[in-house]
């Protein structure tokens, strides 16, 4: 699958319909406040919410700064640098689409901004994922069919 031709990203701006058979019951988690994040992903940019007052980055979807209660949070591009904080290699995947990619790693990347970012951790050229391994930002289309920010480890990532 070509990554450039497919720039579909998750769209939660209007929420997801909860149905009981043909009956519409309500909306699951409409998130207009995260539209900016996914627009960034389309441009291959990882954006964190940023409180200028506290010089602190947040992810995902902070509406107010829990530290100073500021509502003036803005989107700021992440440096794309980080290290592996925790990880798990998934052998039994949640669906046939993901099982095709198994085993794969999901985990938390401690980014240079101090955000712990949950994502896929992709290992290049046989690199082993370990706590503390340097990682760099990339964008990949995963089994979900969406373009997503991921972190990559391997010889390139260490640079």
């Amino acid at each position: 699958m070509s990554e450039t031709s497919n720039i579909s990203v998750p769209d939660w701006s209007g929420g997801k319909k909860v149905q009981a058979g043909d009956q519409f019951l309500g909306l699951y988690q409409p998130s207009p406040e995260t539209v900016g994040f996914w627009e960034g992903v389309k441009r291959r940019e990882l954006l964190f919410k940023w409180c200028g007052e506290c010089a602190r980055a947040y992810h995902p979807r902070r509406m107010i700064c829990p530290q100073c209660s500021s509502t003036e949070l803005t989107w700021k591009p992440a440096s794309g640098k980080g290290t592996v904080y925790s990880y798990s290699e998934v052998h039994r995947a949640p669906s046939p689409e993901f099982q095709k990619e198994a085993p794969y790693n999901v985990g938390l990347i401690e980014t240079a901004e101090g955000v712990h970012f949950f994502c896929r951790i992709c290992a290049e050229s046989g690199a082993r994922v370990e706590v503390g391994t340097p990682a760099r930002l990339d964008f990949r289309v995963l089994g979900s069919g969406y373009l997503l920010p991921v972190f990559v480890i391997g010889s390139e990532a260490a640079k």
């Binding site: 998750p10 699951y28 995902p60 925790s86 798990s88 290699e89 052998h91 985990g107 712990h116 970012f117």
Partner: protein, 405 residues
């Protein structure tokens, strides 16, 4: 604060079980109604006496927008309070905690506390479960499973404290021994297991192998408990089980938010993938009851992975921080002569689903000397831990045969 310790007691408890292979498939609603009607009949409590109906969260296998009212409707009761008490699975014990508050305020005479679930009868449980444990927008698109979400804490626990896979496996081995004596435990016919069996079982989501993970209970369970003030309890019940103390603590939602939580207990000094609200809830419960972990004869936890049981032994005060592995390794929870721990077989060998108040019932049954599984002699005080959301929501309750203070 009002002195809540020992102010209320459990006077009756009932359960209904439906199994996957049963000719007639049972819904959670059917099981709950069966348990409640049996309890009210045995206790001779009329429909007008129930002042509160508190239920754990709406079951996945019986979704309706006003779940507690569906139960009110079937039982034809008309309580002052009717609601779901839900902080993931942590809400189950919250039903009793809110009952104690309403009873102490003198607003109600009896509270009916309920949990019920029968998902494995009705739903293919492989796969979709992660959608209840993961943020659908920011986590699920990466393909995590429930074990992979919990594994993030396992990874840090091993990294920060040197916990080993062998130590984790020991929990599965000891839990299995209890399950072999329990007529309903999912793994009762599978025989005993060894540490080697656990270490050689297929990898699910590293570091968690198949036998590090809870299986689904092959059916559904509903449990119902009747609570009243201690003076009423002594009148109508030969052996009331006192609610000596309780605590609850809820910190965050989704594993990806866990490290974004700080400035609140237990993360005052910064976030952690390891430490949990269970330690806060336990501290509250011990303080209320005026007892310590040394005074506890039996413990039931609700965590579905081996490592998390080691961690809970720490958080609940049965060993020091980082010592869960060594505690279990040196026989701390041995079936033969250790602390009676997960005496139904636990989530790991009894199976997970609708346990909710079933864990509470196990302690009451042991105190009343008619457990469904292996008896624990001379149980005077028990601790039950309810938990939900990957290690996000925690409830603790201390039960006692006699008032503790």
């Amino acid at each position: 604060m009002a002195n809540l310790a020992n102010s209320c007691a459990i006077v009756g408890i009932a359960r209904a079980v439906g199994l996957k292979g049963d000719k007639e498939k049972k819904t959670p609603l059917q099981l709950v109604v069966q348990a409640c009607s049996q309890l009210m009949r045995e206790m001779r409590i009329g429909r007008t006496k129930i002042g509160a109906l508190f239920t754990g969260r709406m079951p996945r296998s019986y979704m309706t927008l006003q779940y507690s009212q569906s139960l009110v409707n079937e039982l034809k009761i008309a309580p002052m309070f009717s609601t779901e008490v839900t902080s993931h699975g942590g809400g189950a014990l919250g039903t009793l905690q809110l009952s104690v508050l309403a009873l102490n305020a003198g607003l109600i005479e009896y509270a009916l506390c309920i949990t019920g679930e029968a998902s494995p009868i009705w739903i293919d449980m492989i796969g979709g479960s992660a959608n209840w444990e993961a943020d659908l927008q920011f986590e699920a698109p990466y393909g995590p499973t429930t074990p992979a979400l919990y594994a993030q804490s396992a990874c840090r626990y091993m990294h920060e404290y040197g916990i080993t896979a062998e130590q984790m496996a020991r929990v599965a081995v000891e839990n299995r021994k209890w399950a072999l004596h329990h007529p309903y435990a999912a793994m009762r016919r599978k025989g005993p297991i060894t540490i080697d069996d656990v270490l050689k079982s297929p990898m699910i989501a590293s570091p968690l192998r198949l036998l590090d993970c809870a299986p689904w209970f092959p059916g559904g369970i509903a449990s119902a408990a009747l609570i009243t003030r201690e003076e009423v309890a002594r009148d109508i019940c030969r052996e009331p089980v006192y609610i000596a103390g309780f605590g609850q603590h809820n910190t965050h939602e989704w594993v990806g938010e866990r490290m974004g939580t700080w400035g609140v207990e237990p993360f005052m000094d910064g976030p952690s993938m390891v430490r949990t609200g269970a330690r806060v809830a336990a501290k509250q419960a011990y303080a209320m009851a005026g007892v310590t972990a040394k005074d506890i004869d039996i413990v039931e936890t609700s965590v579905p992975f081996t490592y998390a049981n080691l961690l809970m032994l720490e958080e609940l005060g049965f060993c020091g921080e980082g010592e869960g592995g060594r505690f279990v390794e040196s026989g701390g929870i041995d079936f033969e002569d250790g602390l009676p721990f997960n005496t139904t077989g636990g989530y790991l060998s009894f199976g997970q689903s609708g346990q909710g108040l079933y864990l509470l019932k196990e302690i009451v049954d042991q105190m009343w000397r008619h457990p469904e599984g292996h008896p624990v002699p001379n149980v005077t005080r028990g601790l039950v831990h309810g938990h939900g959301g990957p290690l996000a929501c925690h409830s603790v309750m201390i039960l006692s045969k006699e008032p503790t203070c």
